[in-house]
């Protein structure tokens, strides 16, 4: 009787120590949720959520310090994803206008630019090149379209324009057939039960 108790006490102590050691030895730095949320965010670094960049917002979300509906460029889809990750109630987007489907980029009217470097300081991804009193220009491939540079321009020479579609960026549209649309609801009901695994 006493033997058994001692053995189990000893075992409990051993495993407790092991667990305690493991908790210290294999401690995860930071909140792992942050990275998962950060991956879902669009990385425009636009700051429209009120945080300086996507990662700080992800951190705030992971710590439960922020609302899930603040990412404007991500829109409704990202909000749903975030609420799923954080197991929180999805909240309607504060800004009801849908996120633009087209990608936009900043373009500097180089004739008007006075070289004030305000936009260069504002750009979160260093996508603007130029120097003081010299013309600036946007590296289109690296512009996230965050619209942070346009308001700071003293001469309003920055425009946000949609990227023109090329053969490389063009993609097939989803086929829409009339019959399927009308029968979609009934079909969905039937398909939900016997969906292929």
């Amino acid at each position: 009787m006493l033997d058994a108790i001692l053995i189990f006490l000893g075992l409990a102590l051993l495993f407790g120590l092991l667990l305690g050691y493991a908790a210290i030895r294999f401690k995860v730095e930071g909140n792992p949720l942050t990275d998962i949320i950060n991956k879902e965010l669009p990385q425009t670094q636009c700051g429209q959520c009120g945080f300086p960049g996507c990662k700080p917002y992800a951190e705030a979300l992971a710590n439960g310090e922020s609302e899930v509906n603040l990412c404007v460029p991500g829109g409704h889809e990202v909000m749903i994803k975030i609420s799923e990750i954080t197991h929180r109630e999805p909240v309607e987007m504060a800004d009801s206008t849908p996120a633009p489907t087209e990608r936009i980029v900043a373009i500097i009217d180089e004739d008007v630019c006075i070289g004030c470097v305000h936009c260069i300081k504002a750009c979160p991804v260093d996508a603007i090149v130029g120097a003081t009193k010299l013309m600036h220009t946007v590296i289109t491939d690296e512009c996230t379209g965050c619209d942070l540079c346009a308001p700071v321009c003293p001469v309003d020479c920055i425009d946000m324009i949609p990227i023109a579609q090329t053969l490389q960026t063009w993609g097939w549209k989803e086929p829409i057939t009339q019959v399927e649309q009308t029968s979609a609801t009934s079909q969905d009901n039937s398909s939900s039960s016997d969906k292929p695994s």
Binding site: Q43, V125, W172, V179
Partner: protein, 702 residues
Amino acid sequence: MKTQLIKWLTKIYPIAKRALKKFHGGVFPSYYKELSSRHTTLQTSLPKELILPLNQHIGAEDLPLVAMGDKVKKYQLIAAADLKNLHAPIHAPASGTITAIEYRQLPHTSGLTGLCIVITTDEQQVEQTNPLNFPAKKGDACQPNTPQALKDIVYQAGIVGMGGAGFPTFAKIPNVKGKIQTLIINGAECEPFITCDDVLMQQHASEVLSGAQIIAKALACPSIIAGIEDNKPLAIKAMKQAAHKFENIQIQPLLTIYPMGGEKQLIKELLNTEIPAGTHAIDSGILMMNVSTLRAIHQAINLGRPLISRLITVSGLGLDKPFNSEVLLGTPFEQLVEQAQPKSALNYPLIQGGPMMGFEVPNNQVPVIKTTNCILANPPQTTETTMPCIRCGECMDACPINLLPQQLYWYSRSHEFEKVEKLNLFDCIECGCCSFVCPSHIPLVQYYRFAKSEIKTAKIEQQKANLAQKRHENKLAREARLKAEKDARIKAKKEAIKQKALLKAANTDEDASAPTKIKKSPAVAAAEKAAAMRKKKLTQTSQYPIDTQTQTQTEEMSKKPALSAREKAIAAAKKRSTQTKSNVENSAEKRKRKAQTASNSPSVIETAEQKAIRRAAELAKNMKKKALAEKNRVEKQTNNAPEDHQLTTSQNTGTGTQDKSVIEKPIANKRAVAMQAAKERAAAMKAKKLAEALQTKNEKIE
């Protein structure tokens, strides 16, 4: 035996023919090949205007090398891109004037516009001599013997895969000899309506085989196999005849089944090897070329002509006289179709390619490009209404890649793209067999294309997001670094100013402390003398700490040498204070010995001894006192020396309090004592200030 049985079976069950070939699936559409093949090839007239899109291939768009208004000769190079990017150059198909370089509708299903060079042709048709810049020596000198030489010529001639893919051929050719075991000539031409490859093989069989021979020689490829579907008996005959001239070429008739002309299907059929998913035929040592591509290679190497024209089929149920013709690139579709005498006005969109994989062009004025093999004019038929999927599994039986089209369809429809990708969506060749057999007429291929596009864009977006994140992090890191550097700079500057102020204060302090020395008793003066001796010794040992201390202010030091001596003295005093005890003992011992040698009588010795001890003790006490005072002052200075008179007063009070504490506490605790004293002093100062404030207050009140 087996084949005969199957042939007999096909009479009652036509699909049984599928068992006659090696790859999975396949369909048997109505071919209508006789429409165009029964008519002789036509010579088309020179178009007034040639439209040459700058992107006729897979890869980057070319850049125009000509300007508006330039006169160009036939075969002249007019567009090319940077060699870093995958591309194929474009040559002028006819001589004339560049009348526009502008955005025009492309022969692409998207209906997008692209930059095009427009040539208005002239009557003279001046040809450029030696457009591919061959060396002057003609003949065998131009025959490429290495893969690189072959690649160079093929690149310069602007040759792309002319079966429909448009992949630049030079990029397809491997860099090393002997990598390719088999060269396959693709003459299957499995799409309905199209007969241009059939006609090409009938009329130019030797050119095709010569092109194949050149490649085989350059790549040291041992065997060449030509696969031709058995619905082209004339082509097979012509090719077999031409093949007699070459030793290692084998002509293989194939079962007529769609899609026999697919790369993986044809390889499976001819060599019974399957190309693993995600790899190319090249990786398995097989190179496949379309007959038109081979002819273009022959023309480039043997005739020195770049790719400027191709054989195309103009056919369709809406035309009276369908035909095949050698057409200059850039010829508008409508002009060709008009020549084939349409049955009714062309108020419906034309189709580029065959009915299975082709697409409707957005505008009938679009030009023929390097990949155009067929223009179809099929009047629009009443489209079958799409019905819900009944899960019959016909599509699965028809799929030549052995995929699960029905599963792909469900997941594509519900936008579960990860699952679609897992079902090997990207192995789908979009042949359209599944849509063809679907009893519900579901446009399955369109769903797969949609899913592919979505997955590709999602991947690009992800890449862009990662890049943006990285750049943002870099920016933050840079900003942090710059801030740290700025802070450090400011701190250093502050420190320098502080030091300067300190030195100034110390300078004035020395002047102030000079008169206090005079007040000291002669005994103290004597002790100081002795101490100075030791100081000298100690400064040598304590050279290093002084150096580090003074390193930052060497400039000021050089300006004021008197100060450096003073600094040294301070450091020495510090050092000495820790060693005072031992020093005192040492000096006591010395004096003892001295006394012993001075007198021989014991009583005298005794008194001398006592005297010496007393003197030593006295000396030690004085030294302690002095060291403490010194140390105190040093500490004061580091605590940002206040104004002169304040310093001296506090020093006086300091020494006063210290006198007591020194007697009470051991030397080892000196630091703590000094700290304590400083605290006390600070408290006293505070109290004094408070008292003063109170006093002034009271006075005010009064």
